[in-house]
């Protein structure tokens, strides 16, 4: 009964997995995967190029989130924003990297849950403010911070923004994901109140906060150990 399903397009998935495992250039992996998937689905070259081009034009809104704030952020960096953020946090005696990021996680997740998803972001918040502050808090305590630990702190700052955003926004009723779920369930004949879906997201949102905050708390210990070595 399943003979109608064409399994060949799965080759495109295989290309992605193998490409990333071999650490090939990601952009080339994506293009090869596009070609393999297209031919496996029996598209000819013109059809494939047309599909790729139409999708490329349609999705050009995606990079805008990064590109739009760059001029303002770059200008502020030129005049010392990152240095100022670092120096400011170093004056707060109670500030540690972990505590600072836990506060940021709480604000990010809480504001996303209220629908304020733009209060944050990797280009507009993490690079100019959150990462320099997290690094500055560690540096104020341990001036001889290793590069390895510096990079780990920055990566954790980026991770904290993502975790807060993902697990906060889904408990906001008007968020796109909730509407998508409602549409799909309705197509299958199941009526669900969006408010119930948002409410049932709360246990996971709380778990995400606890797990990630605990890891941030442990990051402080790791920074301390790194300084002793």
């Amino acid at each position: 009964m399943h003979t109608a399903v064409n399994l060949w397009p799965l080759l495109g998935v295989a290309v992605i997995v193998v490409g990333f495992l071999l650490r090939a250039h990601p952009v080339l992996v994506v293009v090869v995967a596009c070609a393999v998937t297209g031919f496996a689905a029996a598209m000819d070259v013109e059809h494939l190029l047309g599909s790729l081009g139409a999708a490329f034009i349609k999705t050009r809104n995606l990079p805008l989130i990064y590109l739009l704030p760059l001029a303002a952020i770059g200008l502020l960096e030129r005049f010392g924003l990152r240095e100022h953020a670092q120096a400011g946090v170093a004056r707060i005696a109670a500030a540690t990297t972990g505590r600072l990021l836990i506060v940021y996680l709480f604000v990010r997740e809480g504001s996303a849950a209220l629908g304020l998803t733009s209060l944050g972001g990797q280009a507009s918040m993490v690079r100019p403010l959150v990462a320099p502050m997290a690094e500055g808090a560690a540096e104020a305590r341990y001036p001889a911070l290793s590069d390895r630990m510096r990079h780990r702190i920055r990566a954790m700052a980026a991770a904290t923004d993502n975790v807060g955003l993902f697990f906060g926004e889904d408990i906001f009723v008007a968020f796109g994901a909730i509407l998508l779920m409602q549409t799909i369930l309705r197509a299958e004949g199941i009526e669900v109140d969006p408010l119930h879906m948002a409410l049932w997201g709360i246990p996971t949102a709380v778990s995400a906060f606890i797990i990630h905050a605990w890891r941030l708390h442990r990051l402080d210990d790791a920074i301390g150990r790194d300084a002793i070595e």
């Binding site: 293009v31 001029a71 030129r78 996971t204």
Partner: protein, 318 residues
């Protein structure tokens, strides 16, 4: 619409065209011509937009990928203020430096909440389909204006600084865009159907716990492959969630949906395919390991996925 998203496409197109010109005139870049061509092609996509024939845009995307894939996109030279001058300026401006940085989220939030339904002469002030993006664009322009006023720098200097950051991100900037294209192609080629077929045909779901685990882990794995939870949700909900969990075991549909989407997000935290969340930030923060953000997120994502399975298993009859 008075402020349509196209306005910001043109603005970014102009910025990228400026980046291309600056790259072409920068002899310190060993690959300045291929770098300039790469950014000029990208600028053309934003400036021409829907006027471009799809086949041409597709060929352009392949050419850009080849330039990037064979090392043709390099960073140029940048003149920054000397450390002492920057420290002096940071002391002089003090907390005022935070102001433009906070203007971006402030304007975005105010515009997207308070001005969402405002019309002038029956035309929407802000593009309702791209509300957040247009609000963010207004916030970014306002922040640039405030930053120029504060620092007495020209908007052109802003463009130079944007180029410095774009150079720091490099080809990783277009990776999320190309992955989104691949995601749409996967959908057109029926990859989702094929995965659902494999999952439901080869795994026995007579045990309720196995069914719950297959649903949650499948959601995460599928997101790892597609890079987007929105692509995974219809497949796994249609393949396992609704027929097995809801119809066979009588699970609460709202709970099944909510936890399913969160399981997909656990996958998003673990995949280079979600490049805008995982790979671009690594480049933005100048980390030598491009998977550093994923490695930082793994120990949160895996326990959270386990928590999701348990939550769905124990709460499904609520």
């Amino acid at each position: 619409m008075i402020l349509a998203v196209d306005l910001f496409y043109w603005l970014i197109g102009l910025l990228l065209a400026g980046v291309a010109i600056m790259a072409a005139r920068d002899p310190s870049n060993p690959r300045r011509w291929s770098t300039a061509l790469f950014w000029a092609l990208y600028a053309a996509l934003y400036l021409a937009g829907e006027a471009m024939p799809p086949v041409g845009a597709g060929a352009m995307m392949i050419l850009m990928a080849l330039i990037a894939g064979f090392g043709g996109v390099r960073a140029g030279g940048h003149l920054s203020l000397a450390g002492a001058a920057r420290a002096a300026s940071a002391r002089r401006l003090g907390h005022w430096l935070f102001l433009p940085a906070l203007v971006i989220p402030f304007v975005t939030i105010v515009f997207s909440t308070l001005l969402r339904d405002v019309r002038i002469d029956a035309r929407f002030l802000l593009d309702p389909k791209n509300l957040t993006l247009v609000s963010l664009g207004c916030g970014a322009v306002a922040a640039l204006a405030v930053a120029c006023w504060l620092t007495r720098a020209s908007p052109l200097q802003g463009a130079r600084e944007a180029r410095r950051l774009i150079d720091a991100i490099g080809w990783a900037l277009v990776l999320p865009h190309m992955l989104a294209v691949l995601g749409l192609l996967f959908a057109e080629a029926g990859v989702g159907k094929a995965v659902a077929h494999v999952v439901t045909d080869y795994i026995n779901m007579d045990s309720r716990f196995v069914a719950v685990a297959v649903y949650c882990i499948g959601m995460a794995l599928f997101t790892v492959v597609m890079g987007n939870g929105f692509a995974a949700f219809p497949v796994m909900a249609g393949g396992v969630g609704i027929p097995v969990l809801v119809h066979r075991y009588g699970a609460n549909a709202a709970l099944m949906a909510a936890i399913g989407m969160f399981s997909a997000y656990c996958g998003t935290l673990m995949t280079p395919m979600a490049a805008n969340f995982n790979i671009v930030p690594a480049a933005l923060l100048e980390l030598p390991d491009r998977n550093a953000v994923i490695k930082a997120q793994m120990p949160t994502a895996l326990p959270l996925l386990a928590a999701n399975i348990l939550l769905l298993y124990f709460l499904m009859y609520q």
